[in-house]
Symmetry: C3
């Protein structure tokens, strides 16, 4: 079933507008091309409304936010909402600075996000900080493990219900939840954390999956997570003596480039709770 | 003959100032180093006049333009013109937003470009939009194919004549034209479109070729196009099972690094019309 | 002894705040991860004070400075000084433009740097330009060679004494000096100059080495230089037919990823003068 989701991306070549950080932007673009999407980047307030209008999805990542790009995020997000585009928020570093936390919370207040994707720490920050989501119990462990899984799943569903967004929490175990269902995903490898930007790459790719699977958004988001994790597994199998994180980065993107629906269906490791 | 052009780059190590987008800037720098040039990047208005003054060429790419970098483009472009440097315009996304179209058109009005390089859609936008070039018949097909080739060649020459710039239109078939002659180039592979920034890379590299071949600008521009396309062919031959667009990106830059004049002369596929 | 320095990085995972150029930022992040550190990037004035506060070190690189990031450099640098964090300056292009020279000199006046790292031309510019360091004899050759070594070592020590910073001058022969001692390092390969950003990568990595080796800062800085150079040697040994600068970039980062203390101790080529 998830395999169908990546096939839909390849069939429809969704154009995704990215307002993303300059650290990992090249990888985000190449991952979008690898999965069958098409990337465009623009973060100038006078440019983003036009650009997002010709796209199907918008990926907002606050990793290297600045005053100008923050303004662009609000303008693009509101326009994307008007056009009923899919919109994703990647709140990089929420909790690490006041500006990042405030920006992410305010974005949640003024823009409707199809998906919010981050690590557990970022997502907890948003759950506690947002007016919209006041009342969500974020007293969950700082890592999603088998031991903390039940409470983490409940937290993800609760936050999804309050925010009206699909919530994707990525880590050793990944969760992708709406109010009712939560995909618990066990793909991926710990070495992926030694590459910069695998999270950013996932956010870009997930936006393409949302655009290509409008009638199955939860499955689409989960399929993107499985694709990334499975590519991490396949890429690792292809590592040679002397290879390290730079080659691993290339091999993961390569594995996404070569991923078809059948491979994804066979390799995806998930349960739905 | 084109082989001589890349040898001239390697002999003279032209220093190229790039005001380019942050998506593909690292690849632009590495491609410039691969072909024998030397890159420097600066997009701060208070910095660009000094920086462009010590270079031989200027590459302006509007891919992630912002208010500050736009100001820098005009300042650097005018200074480069005063110094008789080679200047290239890559109008990324012209036609996709008003800001991009307006910026590219205004740049053409106020800066003389040695070369304008883009895809057919971007170049048509400029041909229609620019006061300088009013009257060019841009009623040409949206892709340069064998069927549309005659009209595309005529369009490229007409636009070159009106604008006073060499016009490079890249796609499945590449055209590099001045008012009188048009190189029709058939190097390259369709998979290059699955890598972000091969066009941006070409623009950076082409600027180095212009600086190194001041008496044969048209040949220099065509040689850069052939080098990129041929590197795409050589890089593809070296692909292994499991490789994808990320590895392909590396192999193309590697192929440029290893390209000599003889290889280019043997592999370049072009006719002059 | 230097091997211990990289082991200390791997043991303590120092978090390094980078205000660095957008050309090589992705490689800087991956090199920091490769050596065992952890990168975070932020250059927005309203964000950097919070971000640098949670880090152990700050890497300031002026490669693509702009008005906003310059303001951020001063804010972050002063805050890092207050917190007694390790702070490194990479004065990319000092001497090439007035803005770059002035910014680097003013940074030296207002921020205390643990290390200043650049090429001989940049460091000479700072030695001549800074009020703090007035009187340093910068009448040294433009490249550190066996012939100019004695005067270059003296220059490095003098500048270190006047500035109160460790001075790292990288080139064919690398020098890492405080007022009393100078590591003369002969690792590395000339082909590293054909990759963009090996200097920027070194600056990021060196900041992590400083944080992890607070009681042996000079050794820590020298160990980072040896690690980079030795990785360049190991990476080159692994090159295959057809490989070029793009693959070489990956292999160098991979070699850092796989570097352990024993390998570094065996491969480091240095003398102390």
């Amino acid at each position: 079933m998830l395999g169908k989701c990546i096939e839909n991306v390849r069939k429809t070549t969704p154009l995704v507008h990215n307002i993303t950080n300059y650290v990992t932007v090249n990888d985000v673009a190449n991952v979008l091309l690898a999965c069958g999407g098409s990337p465009i980047m623009s973060d100038e307030p006078d440019d983003v409304v036009d650009i997002t209008s010709i796209c199907g999805g918008l990926n907002i990542n606050i990793g290297t936010l600045n005053k100008s790009s923050i303004e662009a995020m609000f303008l693009a997000g509101k326009r994307a909402n008007e056009l009923d585009h899919k919109v994703l928020l990647d709140p990089v570093g929420a909790g690490a600075s006041k500006l990042r936390t405030d920006t992410a919370v305010k974005l949640m207040d003024e823009v409707h996000f199809t998906v919010i994707r981050g690590n557990i720490s970022e997502i907890k920050t948003l759950a506690q900080g947002s007016g919209t989501t006041k009342g969500v119990d974020a007293d969950v462990a700082d890592a999603v493990t088998e031991e903390s899984l039940d409470s983490a799943v409940k937290f993800a569903k609760d936050f999804a219900k309050k925010s009206g967004s699909i919530v994707a929490i990525t880590g050793a175990i990944d969760l992708v939840a709406d109010a009712d269902r939560c995909f618990v995903i066990r793909n991926g490898r710990p070495e992926m954390g030694r590459i910069t930007g695998t999270g950013c790459q996932l956010s870009g790719m997930m936006t393409a999956f949302l655009v290509a699977n409008p009638d199955n958004l939860l499955e689409g988001a989960a399929a993107a997570v499985c694709t990334m994790g499975l590519a991490g597994e396949i890429g690792w199998e292809n590592m040679q003596d002397g290879d390290g994180n730079s080659t691993y980065r290339n091999r993961i993107i390569d594995a996404i480039y070569n991923m078809d629906g059948e491979t994804l269906d066979k390799g995806a490791k998930y349960e739905v709770r």
